[in-house]
Amino acid sequence: MNFEYSDEQRLLSETLRKFLNTGYGFDARAKITATPAGFSEDVWAALAEMGILGVPFDEKFGGFGGTTVDMMVVMEALGEALVVEPYLATVGLGGRFVARGGAAPQQARILPALIAGKTKMAFAQTEPEARYDLARVATRATPSGDGWVLEGDKRAVLHGGCADLLVVSARTAGGDGDARGISLFLVERGAAGLAIDDARTLDNLRVADVRLSGVRVGRDALLGAEGGGLPLIEEVVDYATALVCAEAVGAIKYAHDATLDYLKTRRQFGVPIGSFQALQHRMVDVLIAYEQARSIATLACVKVDTADAAERRRVVSAAKVKIADAARHVSQEAVQLHGGMGMTEELKISHTFRRLTTIAQAFGDADHHLARFAAARASA
């Protein structure tokens, strides 16, 4: 047992932080989010150049062969800087699907291009009525000739608008809600019958509604086993959940640091407001929430790599409960302790508030994961 970061992890973290500190300040970010695409191709190319896009992927594809703890280092840095580029969607979701479920030719075709920054990905899963239930897939894939025809509606697809390649869940058998019968398909941007409606979110990321109207795909578009997609979806979503927990730790750290700084510099009644005990104790509780969030995210990232499916489910849900609670608590306190300034668009703290609010509900809110954790306990 040890808690040290390896030299590689430290180096990775330093490289990325140096880049973000110099090239991704709050003003630079504001310029990026004001563009029509809402993200920067230059930043994306730089992330590829630094090897950040290849961190979790096998060396034979040009990756770094890193663990999820390596990814935690990356996600924390991205979270602290509120990076809006489609890293989680491409590397944490799309790339992970290909790496874990793709056939060798699919991996060889997609992963090197992804790592080089030439292919962006997204995961089209959520449907209008599904909330967080991963088995609620009503989109149909009907056999046709040498492939399938896809028909359905996907909502809130993270970075679906810029994706070159979508992973789409669709039903090849069974009814909405059945665990069996879900399959995964690779769908390229520009496929006939694919309509993507891109929108900016309040936290300045992008989501898309994706409409599939008779989209034809070939046999080679099937990712993983026909009808057996749900376990892979659960595994990848758990992975992405662990990553978003790590991202939250970075954002929480920023909220903590900025609020502490504000308490020390903002003066009222002739003294820094941080001299008031009512505020000190609230600030201490923010610190405690941050440390606890870091611990549970670390546990989730470690277990994603090492635990069996049941333990992975249990720990990821535990992490998401704590992260959702901490995200809400810390973001609300950060705004409150900043007073009126915390309410303004011009301070990064309000953007951090928005990102943490979204993260609290990403891949299942606290209630969803409380129920999932209890179910894991009952079956243990």
Binding site: M283, V302, A318
Partner: protein, 388 residues
């Protein structure tokens, strides 16, 4: 980063587990698991067994009997003791007074006190709080006046945990009442509790237990050689001790055992299927999972041997909140039977465990008050860690 035990660590865990299994007396274990009062003999008996094995003071330097364990080994040891239901090692001697002697004591003091402390020949207790000096410890008034080779001590200490078992008490006393700063003029004295002039009186707590005491000093003559560090420099010693006092107040291993117990009781009561109960239980469990990692992260940082800092305050705050939450959940599992508090000797077939849950819940309210209330811990973190 690796959260799994190495083969050596696993072997060590097995060794500890087997040793505890062979040495922990069933009746003592039973008392621990059922929240019954541990006698002085129960506590010292276990202490002596550990001393014989060489495991009673893992944190001491090797030459005084320390184990030279890694941080992970110390963690494993705590885990196994907690899981098995071992009695606590009473901290006042080996964990609190000893670090002070090792840091500030003379060679003669070390030679005289440390081996007896190690072997459990004396039961040590702590004389810090006074009726007028709780969180504001520096306002203490117990006087020690130099008279030849002695100090003459007069005053009162309060909340003295297990004071009725005490053979020796370490005290903060005022040796100079006229200093400008109250922190100056305080000294650290070791006092033999059989000395004439000492009276110990119990304070009955809200669970009707006897655990803490008032200790009165009426012209108690204490040899001057029992002064630790310099006269009027006791506050330095007290500050040094603060971190050690809070170490281990997280009680994580014990909370893990209690959590398992809550689940067992809740399952029996059909409460695990009640989403309201299940959600509350889960939030406590998740907090404990996180705290276990937080504790390990902090231990990892302490490996260089630097004394514990404000971060242990965090462990104290969260650890005690969790302890209290667990007693609350456990009380709830008993439902209407929780009100059946009767004297334990009441009658045959009487469910003493269920009847212990209400007093237990009441008793553990102390955890957020003792060893520096959680509000004081927040003050410490605000100042020392946050710089506010």
């Amino acid at each position: 980063m690796d959260l799994n035990y190495s083969p050596e660590e696993t072997a060590f865990r097995d060794e500890v587990r087997a040793w505890i299994g062979a040495n922990l007396a069933a009746d003592v274990r039973d008392k621990v698991l059922n929240y019954r009062e541990l006698s002085k003999d129960d506590l010292l008996g276990w202490h002596k067994k550990l001393a014989t094995k060489g495991w009673v003071a893992p944190g001491w330097p090797k030459e005084w009997g320390g184990t030279d364990w890694t941080v992970v080994q110390r963690y494993i040891f705590e885990e196994e003791c907690g899981a098995a239901g071992c009695p606590p090692i009473v901290p006042f001697g080996v964990r609190m007074c000893a670090p002070v002697l090792l840091r500030f004591g003379t060679d003669a003091q070390k030679q005289r006190f440390l081996p007896r402390m190690y072997n459990g020949e004396d039961f040590w207790v702590q004389g810090y709080s006074e009726p007028g000096a709780g969180s504001d410890l520096a306002s203490l008034k117990t006087r020690a006046v130099r008279d030849g080779d002695h100090y003459v001590v007069t005053g009162q200490k309060i909340w003295t945990t297990l004071g009725h078992y005490g053979d020796w008490i370490f005290c903060l006393v005022r040796t100079d009442p006229k200093t400008e700063k109250r922190q100056d003029g305080i000294s650290f004295l070791l006092i033999d509790m059989t000395t004439p002039g000492i009276t110990v009186r119990p304070i009955v707590l809200l669970d009707q237990s006897r655990e803490v005491n008032e200790v009165f000093f009426d012209e108690v003559r204490v040899p001057a050689e029992n002064l630790v560090h310099e006269e009027n420099k006791g506050w330095t010693v007290a500050k040094f001790l603060l971190g050690y006092e809070r170490m281990g107040t997280g009680n994580i291993a014990v909370s893990k055992r209690e959590l398992a117990r809550v689940k067992e009781l809740a399952a029996r009561a059909g409460l695990l299927d009640d989403p309201r109960f299940a959600d509350r239980l889960t939030r406590v469990e998740v907090e404990l999972m996180a705290l276990e990692i937080t504790n390990l992260r902090f231990l990892d940082q302490l490996r260089g041997g630097r004394p514990p800092g404000a971060e242990v305050s965090l462990l104290k705050i969260k650890g005690t909140e969790i302890q209290q939450a667990l007693t609350e959940l456990m009380l709830q599992t008993a439902g209407p039977l929780a009100q059946a508090f009767r004297p334990l000797e009441a009658r045959a077939g009487f469910d003493a465990f269920t009847a212990s849950l209400m007093p237990r819940y009441c008793n553990v309210r102390k955890a957020t008050i003792y060893a520096g209330s959680n509000e004081i811990q927040r003050n410490i973190i605000a100042k020392a860690t946050l710089g506010l």
